[in-house]
Symmetry: C2
Subunit: 462 residues, 2 copies
Amino acid sequence: MQEIKEYLEQHKQRFIDELIDLLKIPSVSADSAFSQDVLDTADAVKTALETAGCDAVEICETAGYPIVYAEKIIDPNLPTVLVYGHYDVQPPDPTDLWNSPPFEPVIKPTELHPEGAIFARGASDDKGQMYMHIKAVEFMIKTGQLPCNVKFMIEGEEEVGSKNLATYVSEHHEKLANDIILISDTGMIANDVPSITTGLRGLSYVEVEVTGPNRDLHSGLYGGAVANPINILAKMIASLHDENNHITIPGFYDRVEELSEEERAEMAKAPFDLEAYKNSLGIEAVYGEKGYSTNERNSIRPTLDVNGIWGGYTGEGAKTVIASKAYAKISMRLVPHQDWQEITELFKTHFERIAPQGVRVKVTPHHGGQGYVTPIDTIGYQAASKAYETTFGKKPVPQRGGGSIPIVALFEQELKSKTILMGFGLDSNAIHSPNEHFAVWNYLKGIETIPYFYQYFSEMYS
Amino acid sequence: MQEIKEYLEQHKQRFIDELIDLLKIPSVSADSAFSQDVLDTADAVKTALETAGCDAVEICETAGYPIVYAEKIIDPNLPTVLVYGHYDVQPPDPTDLWNSPPFEPVIKPTELHPEGAIFARGASDDKGQMYMHIKAVEFMIKTGQLPCNVKFMIEGEEEVGSKNLATYVSEHHEKLANDIILISDTGMIANDVPSITTGLRGLSYVEVEVTGPNRDLHSGLYGGAVANPINILAKMIASLHDENNHITIPGFYDRVEELSEEERAEMAKAPFDLEAYKNSLGIEAVYGEKGYSTNERNSIRPTLDVNGIWGGYTGEGAKTVIASKAYAKISMRLVPHQDWQEITELFKTHFERIAPQGVRVKVTPHHGGQGYVTPIDTIGYQAASKAYETTFGKKPVPQRGGGSIPIVALFEQELKSKTILMGFGLDSNAIHSPNEHFAVWNYLKGIETIPYFYQYFSEMYS
């Protein structure tokens, strides 16, 4: 498959331009103000799949944003790869921290990527990584080298919990039937340390509301005499971790998989520079659960983070008010075997229980998903490993990731197939943050590597 | 002074209309978007003082919003009353909880005020109460019954800490020379339980900023491994009270005046219905410092309340982010002898000290002021008491208030005179809250009562 390099050389400017066009559409699924843009993005993805040479391309309506489906069936006797990705993106807030507008993509060199990176919301998560697959398939179809069947399922609600994908998947077992699922929505350790994500954390995301008095009050007249919902919310949140940063929700750790000393020792071999990590984040010290390393804390251990908090007067100047209500968005990252629905229930029960008299508490589950672990002795993993080795010149490291793609566990349950997470992003890509970017080198390296996965997987499968 | 009742009957519609016009101008001093409106309000107050018959009316420029000064000197040998009030108002947020727009005043009956109350931001605090004085003086001037000299000093920065009034006062000792200061910016226990506020709490208002990583992070990739500024802020706020709701800042209580058992027993005689209090606030239980009653908690005890908190994603839906920064506005109500600048310093030192490694903390003092206690054996208090007794038919109860008018302590220090707090509002007026209002009855009762204060004070003084 030598000509992939030539094909890339010939078409790379077009590949970049096409991605930039896609990044210009603000497909923010969490904010209904952008709903038309999300729909326009689905149309753009449909067109891109048609142009790449796919058949049966369709916009599949759901109760929310549509799923774009496409396929290229060359022989029912050959194996089938199902590619999953998402065309929606995270909200760009806080927009004032972006160095260029989030939906006006620009290519700029960075210290890590002197050859340039594309800066835009969704550049890495997941428009850029999803689009690599469309371009890789374009190459295989146009050059007559597609060695197996391929199906695409690109959704528009990943950033809001894949609300309607589960229904779609459960209703289309036959249409989506496959031998392996391929996703690029994760990262690698570094460009010279390729890695494959073998585990993902689950997620439970809830919103809490604490109500005290039935109206905002003057803090002079009522201060000290009634429960202040913000003080109470702070106290309740603080109590969710103990002095060792263990989570205090009863039953939270009951199903947590404890790794053996051998497994932890194996994990500890992955290259990690704590000083560089702290420097890149501008922090003097890391912080987390006692008894675990930084890499363990953000991969094999469950966590609880407040993702947003608000209440009272937050404008300019001062207002001496006791707010009637205070709110927080709280997410818990879960590890394999923790059930997200059970954890959501445990959280709700506990949070309601610890509310003092004088306030009322409402817990609203937003969404969630199970964690996932993929074994490395499957042909899916082996094919991916060999593909990276071919194009990076190095065997990739298996790595447990801290993020969540809740749908992966569901795929296995519904479609009975394993997922391979071939990520080409880096932690430094600032996904979910201002100045998200994706290096041009990584984008093109992804397009180059993916066809080898198809080749090796088809060879090993037969 | 029988004709005050007649004068009121004759002019009450005009008095109401004039106040409504004043309430239409959104003089929100905390928000620079309203700066022209604040200036327009100063002009309106100037015109009102001129119309009432005052002399030497002027707009006195300061580094911030101007002070409106006026006087009526009838005889240098007679005593002089200095009236203080403010024409700026609190921000109206949250505006969606108002039943009518905050700057479109309407008169509506309420359960407590079947004869109607004026609903608007500033109706009670302090435009309505300040305007009573202008109308009372109008009556005394127009009917030739002003028994002493009067000076007005109406400022536009009370709701943002009277930033520039201190300078003005210190530079105009002679101009502002007086024998008693009169302020209506507090409340009474009830319309059938008139009371005079004899103490006010001091205030220290600060803003805190907690910074963790140098950018917003993806909670999947970093969750559990770095200090989350919102979780940390919650923990730090929670730690500011112990399990008995005592404030934990070292030295905070050192200067707190402890009342004797006799004084507390005397205070406890004031009529107070805990069930009605809880019902009016929609709460099942009161909450506060162990060992003190509700009335003690919000008058003779210092407090610490979070007035606003914000950080991370607060929009629609979910975003799995670890914010770089979290913020809170925190105010402490202080009791006499606590020095607000010392308390601010104690807070700052403590808050910085308790920040864990991995975050940086910035504490910005907003403003503050000293508490105040006025003795009841002065002719000022006695004149006010007799005035209420004349128009309410009942001797008023001396009452310690929970709010703060920081400038009162400064007046005593700079001008060497005592302040009498003749408030005609009620706690239920929802000042600083949505649906602030001031009953028409109370507004007119204030105008009726004030001239008697001038009469009795002048008589007792000679």
